[in-house]
């Protein structure tokens, strides 16, 4: 499974993309990613400013990941 980061999450982690371990839910994935480095821990410190998309659809953190190919983490959107 591929994990993508955008905006300040990408900057804090230092990567735009990485391979992720299998996880049952988004929350489990976040826990696994946090354990990777202090940069990941810092990026995922305040989950109220983090949003997630699973296969390019906005989802909640308890969303299941079975069969998912791409998970993206990013801050709340600021387009327009």
């Amino acid at each position: 499974m591929k994990v993508l980061y955008f905006a300040w999450l990408r900057e804090r982690i230092g990567e735009a993309e990485e391979e992720a371990p299998e996880a049952a839910t988004v929350s489990e994935l976040v826990d696994a990613l946090r354990a990777r480095s202090s940069r990941h821990e810092h990026a995922f410190a305040d989950m109220t400013s983090v949003r997630v998309a699973v296969d390019r659809k906005i989802r909640d953190f308890d969303a299941p990941l079975a069969g998912a190919a791409e998970v993206a983490f990013f801050p709340p959107m600021t387009g327009g």
Binding site: F6, R56, M77, T78, G80
Partner: protein
């Protein structure tokens, strides 16, 4: 229905003319522009692939809710100077109320559902623009109509 994500600027008059030719009685356009002041430049990042799909979804929802004869969304990405056009929406309908409402709906949904992020360059350094609660509230008011 015309949805574009691009680095290049767009021609507002040409886009409006395209909708005027759709046979509508009313065309509404909105343009977002980079503010002046202490911002030297703004960079827009997006999520290629998801952005286009999200904008299409918002456009389809607008057409479901209002009788539109045409609809255009163009959003730029990349580095933009103050005064530069960031994005536009345009709606065409037989009557102005539908065109105005649909344009506002497109803006409110786009701000909260399309994956764009703005970073500003200021004299104090670069900063990511924070999402505003007022934008969430503006988007939420349309939920009643579901």
């Amino acid at each position: 229905m015309r949805v574009r994500v691009q680095e290049a600027d767009f021609d507002l008059a040409a886009e409006a003319a395209r909708l005027e030719a759709s046979g509508a009685g009313a065309v509404v356009t909105f343009t977002g522009v980079v503010r002046g002041g202490d911002v030297a430049a703004m960079t827009l990042e997006h999520y290629p692939g998801m952005t286009e799909a999200a904008l299409e979804e918002i456009a389809v929802e607008a057409r479901r809710r209002w009788p539109l004869t045409g609809l255009t969304i163009i959003h730029r990405v990349g580095r933009l100077a103050p005064g530069a056009r960031i994005m536009m929406v345009a709606t065409a309908s037989a009557h102005r109320a539908a065109a105005f409402e649909a344009a506002e709906f497109l803006m409110d949904y786009l701000k909260t559902r399309a994956p764009f992020w703005k970073k500003e360059e200021t004299p104090e350094g670069a900063r990511w623009v924070d999402a505003r609660e007022v934008d969430d509230a503006a988007a939420a008011r349309w939920a009643k109509a579901d």
